[in-house]
């Protein structure tokens, strides 16, 4: 206002009006901060590459020197020579436990997400479910382990008691089905008996992991389901589909890549988890979760896993074990990165189609 009342304002030449001098403090500060932010971003990328390079050097050299025997042999004893031993049981343990956890958590998460996205997007229940899922994503992984320990591993925990009640109600397989030791019923009966005694097991490990996977699956699946254009649903309803038909034949297939992204991210997270497994599966140096003896899949044994193997190996004095821990880390990181990057590629490829 004051400028107007004091007559015409002296207009600087156009070059001064539209271009800022590079020497002025304001521009210098601005440039300096830009460089600083860029430098901080680049520094933050260093650890990733440092980890990957270390894994390739230390883990890769082990693989080059002693070949692929580490994938087929058991952990070395204290007397083993450099280059001996492997982590085959840990690899199997991780695969079995993560697979079982996925079996538990994927249907749970997807159906929950269907409720949130399709049946009741704005109800109070849905808000509560979303909030619970978000709080569960923040649950420290070690507490998932403490939970599974208190619920499944302790002999007088609720799981063991429930299994004990069922175990006593069911007839013995020899009486029910004579001469069928490897039948499904036999397996169920045996496993129930074992669960009712409690103890460290692959099942307890899988339950702990699934507590960590469920919220990831449900939240990403809900996002994916919401991306499905409502016109597609309206068209399906217009043709006389029931709500379930709309959901299973239109919405879920369209959102499938996004849902799979969530599943793969959850698997990647679970595969790398250590803390929950210390409490639940413990680790066994000699036992496999899968072998040739009936009932073939032994879910009630102590089970080794890659992550726990690395943790235990890192604290030992033997150079052989530390080398193996690096090699196991390389394998584990590759496994995790494949699922992680695969999941993200899936979601990227699906985005244009969903719109």
């Amino acid at each position: 206002m004051s400028a107007l009342s004091h007559g015409p304002v002296p207009v600087p030449p156009a070059s001064k009006l539209f271009f800022r001098s590079y020497g002025s403090p304001r521009t210098l500060i601005s440039m300096g901060l830009s460089i600083l932010a860029g430098a901080l971003t680049l520094i933050a990328c260093v650890p990733l590459f440092s980890v990957l390079i270390m894994l390739l050097i230390r883990g890769g050299s082990r693989i080059i020197h002693s070949g692929l025997t580490m994938f087929t042999s058991l952990p070395p004893g204290a007397m083993a020579k450099m280059g001996e031993g492997g982590f085959s049981n840990a690899l199997w343990g991780t695969l079995v436990m993560v697979g079982l956890a996925a079996l538990l958590s994927v249907p749970f998460g997807i159906l929950g997400a269907i409720f949130l996205a399709e049946y009741s997007p704005a109800s109070r229940l849905s808000t509560a479910v979303r909030f619970a899922a978000k709080v569960l994503t923040g649950l420290p992984s070690i507490l998932a382990g403490v939970f599974a320990y208190a619920a499944v591993v302790i002999p007088d925990g609720p799981f063991a008691r429930g299994a004990g009640v069922l175990f006593r109600l069911l007839p013995h397989p020899a009486a029910a089905l004579p001469g069928a030791p490897a039948s499904m019923y036999f397996q169920l009966y045996e496993n129930l008996g074992a669960v009712s005694k409690g103890g460290f097991s692959a099942i307890a490990g899988a339950i702990a992991l699934s507590v960590l996977m469920i919220p990831i699956v449900i939240l990403t699946a809900e996002q994916a389901l919401r991306m499905v254009p409502s016109k597609m649903k309206q068209a399906a309803v217009g043709m006389g589909c029931t709500k379930a038909q709309v959901t299973w034949k239109v919405v879920v297939p369209t959102a499938l890549p996004g849902i799979l992204t969530g599943v793969m991210l959850a698997i990647a997270r679970a595969a790398g988890e250590t803390a929950p497994l210390i409490f639940t599966a413990l680790a066994s140096d000699y036992l496999f979760p899968v072998d040739g003896h009936p009932p073939f899949v032994h879910l009630m044994r102590q089970t080794a896993s890659m992550a726990v193997f690395i943790f235990n190996g890192s604290a030992r004095p033997q150079a052989n074990l530390i080398e193996l821990a690096w090699a196991a880390s390389l394998v584990l990181v590759l496994l995790v990165l494949v699922f992680n990057i695969g999941g993200q590629l899936l979601s990227r490829s699906s985005r244009p189609r969903g719109r």
């Binding site: 932010a37 159906l111 509560a128 420290p140 507490l143 379930a244 409490f279």
Partner: protein, 327 residues
């Protein structure tokens, strides 16, 4: 359409009301979906209940005395399991890590959200930062032992020798210690902070930015005086979420912090956190000690639940205010 045509279509199966099977599937899907949705709430409640319940034996016997006791002595006639050093260590290591991670995380979020780099490079950098979260924490622990500790030890010892009278730099880094643990922890929570702040920053309405630039503000004046204040609730929520994540992080700290039940201000001294205490002592714990560790789990749950609920609440609040402005 004539009645005959409708009848024909019915007999041919083109149009018919939902069969009994269709209605059964419909009902089953609806009830299953509702059951599992409710199941998530129940799961959270059950987890809280189980962890809380398993702490009851210790509370019944000792009350909350262990919370404020400093001594951890497992071998004496009357074993003492003071959790105070671990509780303080949890808060201190998380705060240190958060300090580092906030500086880097917010800088990254600003750098990537404010068009400093071409779109393609932005996506690449964003993915690299996100991949930091994908590396399992046990691998970070291994990396920390064999890379970070040897790398920073000479520097730390130099500081300890020359500035040792300053309590933060007292003593030497003997191996495991607070600083390497905090650095690795910062790397692990960095993706959380940068991703959530990125979302907050990039959903500031472009008009605000254009307005500030149009008034003659430099890029950084716009960022620091308009965009960051507008997104500050979201950024604060990101920091709180990162704090929650840091509090519960276990393996890297179990491997890098030294598992010593003492609390020192010096960033070179070893210490302990609740999660690391549980993880390190559980495999060899006797029955009494397991009870104490379950109690420690309850304390950790209480701390993280409070922090996470606050963080989620802040972000929900930040998003609510924004909904009208965007789109």
């Amino acid at each position: 359409m004539t009645q005959i045509a409708v009848d024909q279509m019915k007999t041919l199966g083109y149009a018919r009301p939902p069969s009994l099977w269709d209605r059964t599937v419909d009902l089953t899907t609806r009830s299953l979906a509702r059951t599992f949705a409710v199941g998530v709430v129940l799961l959270l409640a059950y987890v809280v209940y189980v962890i809380g319940w398993s702490a009851v034996p210790v509370i019944r016997e000792h009350g909350f005395n262990y919370l404020l006791s400093n001594t951890w002595d497992t071998n004496g006639d009357t074993p003492q399991y003071g959790l105070l050093p671990a509780i303080l260590g949890t808060l201190y290591s998380s705060a240190l890590a958060l300090l580092i991670a906030t500086v880097f995380g917010v800088a990254i979020a600003i750098f990537l959200s404010q068009d400093f780099v071409p779109r393609k490079l932005e996506v690449v950098l964003k993915n690299i930062v996100e991949l930091l979260a994908a590396i399992p924490s046990v691998v970070y622990g291994l990396w920390g032992i064999f890379v970070v500790v040897p790398l920073i030890r000479p520097f730390c010892n130099f500081l300890g020798d020359h500035l040792g009278s300053f309590p933060l730099f007292h003593g030497n880094l003997a191996g495991p210690g607070l600083l390497p643990a905090a650095i690795v922890l910062a790397i692990m929570v960095l993706p959380t902070i940068s991703a959530v702040s990125y979302d907050a920053l990039s959903s500031v309405h472009p008009r605000l930015k254009e307005g500030a630039l149009g008034l003659g503000a430099t890029k950084w004046e716009t960022i620091l005086k308009v965009i960051v204040p507008t997104a500050s609730t979201g950024i604060f929520g990101a920091i709180v979420l990162g704090f929650g994540r840091a509090l519960g992080e276990t393996m890297a700290l179990a491997m890098l912090l030294g598992n010593v039940n003492q609390f020192r201000w010096s960033i070179f001294s070893p210490g302990n956190t609740l999660a690391a205490l549980i993880a390190n002592n559980f495999p060899e714990a006797d029955t009494d000690q397991v009870k104490v560790l379950l109690f420690a789990g309850m304390v950790l749950l209480a701390i993280t639940l409070v922090v996470n609920v606050i963080g989620a609440g802040i972000i929900q609040f930040a998003n609510r205010g924004r909904k009208g402005a965007v789109q």
